[in-house]
Amino acid sequence: MTFFGWLTIFLFVGLLTLFAIPLGRYMAAVYTGGHTIFDRFFGVPERLLYRVLRVDPTKGQDWKAYAKSLIIFSLAGWLLLYFILRTQTLWDFTGLNPQHFHSGPWNVTFNTTSSFMTNTNWQYYGGETTMSYFSQMAGLTVQNWLSAGIGIVVAVALVRGIVSRSGTSLGNFWQDLIRTILYVLMPLTVVYALVLVFQGSIQNFASYLTVHGITGLSQTIGMGPVASQEAIKLLGTNGGGFFNTNSAHPFENPTAFTNFLEMLSVLIIPAALVFMYGRMSGNRRQGYAIYSTMMIMFLGAVIVCYIAEAHGSPAQHAAGLHTGAIAGSAGGNLEGKEQRFGIAGSSLYDVVTTVTSCGAVNSAIESFTGIGGAVPFANLSASEVIFGGVGTGLYSILLYVLLAVFIGGLMVGRTPEYLGKKIEAREIKLVSLGILITPLAALFCTALATASKAGRASIDTAIAHGPQAFSETFYAYLSQANNNGSAFAGYTGFIQPNAGSLGSHGVTFADLLGGFDMTFARYAPILFALAVAGALAGKRVSPAGLGTMRTDNPTFVVLLIGVIILVGALTFFPALLLGPIVQGLTGHLY
């Protein structure tokens, strides 16, 4: 561990909070019809889009209508993406497939399409060896925007349900989606993409470069419109890399400065949404309480991960390496990590992207130490409520808040209330289902994949066996269920013997199971969250009395953290013991 490592971590936390507060204020204005500085700029395109899409933005929707629009629009997105990816060579006329890549096998496409629609961005495909520029832009990038937008609008709808005093309306899905894209994502993304190019990311449509190195060896270098995809990939907590090695690739993440910026860009919207919630609920302290909960759990994860990675791995020690810091090298477990990011920049990136549902990686998680690798497991086991994905984080933690209020109410023997609204049997049933459905999907799929021969086909037994092989499998379905997308990348659903996809084949079982895992665990919680919003909307608000349990003080923060850890531990501990914890507790090699 180094001084600069710790400095990076604490500066990161400080700057994140500093930027998230004003963005939260701005977003509250966007979703409550307030005036914003972009009104004059986006007002015209906004109204034009309403007219082209034939929607009446003033027409409110109850939760069922809101959910119906959301599901049908997602389905339309799925169909178009699947079509684009299946017909990759059909679009060669655009000149955006200079390497003449063929479409991947249908099962891999099924997985990829589900993956991008659900904001997961699980990658069984290799970016620079199978995807044309057209597929990356018109296919994958579009879903990066839309899946992020859909996550955010669900959170906004739930917040409206919690705070609304009358009626059943949660707002208008189309208006929310278009305003999210234009007013929230667009300004941030455009500026950010250009900053990335300024720092060294590439942005072109050229064919791959062939270079002749100074010793006479030749090297081919992948090109493409990288920065534009990278920007929305991170801001939308998507995570699907333009290149196979994602944000470890120097063209996606060229410097230690961009690495820092990328981490900020992943967390900025999830953090701002919490402050936005405080404003929209009329009591900013509600936002601060949730922010504190998230930040405490986040810092815990970062500290454990950094210490474990700086210590080095048993394999390094067995080979005789000295892993302490020396002059000119910070030491640590640099296996699968880049020199320019170092241990701190890789550990922090890993935690940032696994607490959110951002599958971006700047290092190989499979090569993290047992304890360092248990941290992403723990983050995923907390069901993406520590900041979480854009929107998904806020609506998921609000479900946990309601659960904590319910448990707190039982403890003091009063009818539980949240912001003056009674939490009754119907709400609690929906909340419980919403919380338990993701772990259920993750564990069911892991069990199925571990127990079946078809599932074990995804494991490369040449490099992974024992607990490592189980970790790979478990992480794959846990990550897909949580719509995260990061991977213990040894687990595969795609065998690609050469660049260009010719002769490649998918591992059908892993592709299909993963695709269903992602889709089910994305849309079921969304429906439950919207149903909760519908149940709460228009409920009578009773004034706070002396006996009202407060939800904006440190006691509640402790209770909330307890509930999150309890639910995560009860559901996942047995499975975690078999994989990462076993590896973390032993220096043994196998």
């Binding site: 270098i221 090298s329 490099i463």
Partner: protein, 223 residues
């Protein structure tokens, strides 16, 4: 229902045009005008020939020739590190430093395979430090414990352009001897091509191997 389907169908097409075609085209246009060097990959030319990208690692190795034929393995030439050049980090791609098909090595922390891979990297590093007679360039010789982790651990991208300063300082002894340069000259060049931490605190300093090797060639000749 019908309304939603019509709106969704129009919506997905319009938004694809806006976000999937319009947005990347605008970013490409602005980037190509404002930052053409970066946007096209920071190409490095020597005598008009493209030799690499400044931020993409490459192998500084020579093909192994036996009986006048380049040895091949799985369609890729077998190579041996060139002692005249600083060496980049171990790579998990096939072939090494493949910038058109990047991949993680995915070595687990408690795996025998990982230990063997690291041990092999250590052996190769020590072997390269030996002069033809067998004497080490590094004073007192290298042992596993003296080797910085970045020289033995696989990089993430497989095309890491940088090595640590400690790694460069060890290789400096070999470079100075092979190229008949003074050690202080080599150290000065390492310092020139070392990038500091981002914003002064983020990440680790790294030495850009391609730039350093090209500077060496300018100073004491290529082949």
């Amino acid at each position: 229902m019908k309304r939603d389907i019509i709106t969704s169908a129009i919506g997905i097409l319009v938004l694809t045009l806006l976000l999937g075609i319009g947005y990347p085209l605008v970013i490409t246009g602005v980037s190509q005008v404002a930052f053409p060097g970066n946007a096209n990959g920071q190409k490095v030319y020597v005598d008009g020939k493209l030799v690499g990208s400044k931020i993409i690692g490459q192998a500084f190795a020579d093909p192994v020739v036996k009986n006048g034929k380049v040895q091949m393995s799985d369609g890729n030439p077998v190579t041996t590190p060139d002692p005249r050049y600083f060496q980049t980090r171990p790579s998990g791609t096939t072939p090494a430093d493949n910038a058109a098909g990047t991949a993680f090595a995915n070595y687990g922390p408690n795996s025998v395979v990982t230990e063997q891979a690291i041990a092999a990297n250590i052996q190769a590093y020590i072997a390269l430090d030996k002069a033809p007679g067998g004497t080490p360039y590094y004073p007192g010789g290298l042992t596993a414990a003296k080797i910085p982790v970045d020289a033995a651990d696989t990089s993430a991208s497989g095309i890491d352009p940088d090595i640590s300063i400690a790694n460069a300082d060890i290789q400096a002894y070999r470079i100075a001897a092979v190229r008949h340069l003074s050690l202080s000259t080599v150290h000065r060049m390492i310092a020139t091509y070392t990038a500091g931490r981002g914003l002064g605190f983020s990440g680790e300093p790294g030495v850009d191997v391609l730039e350093l090797n090209l500077a060496l060639n300018r100073l004491s000749g290529g082949r």
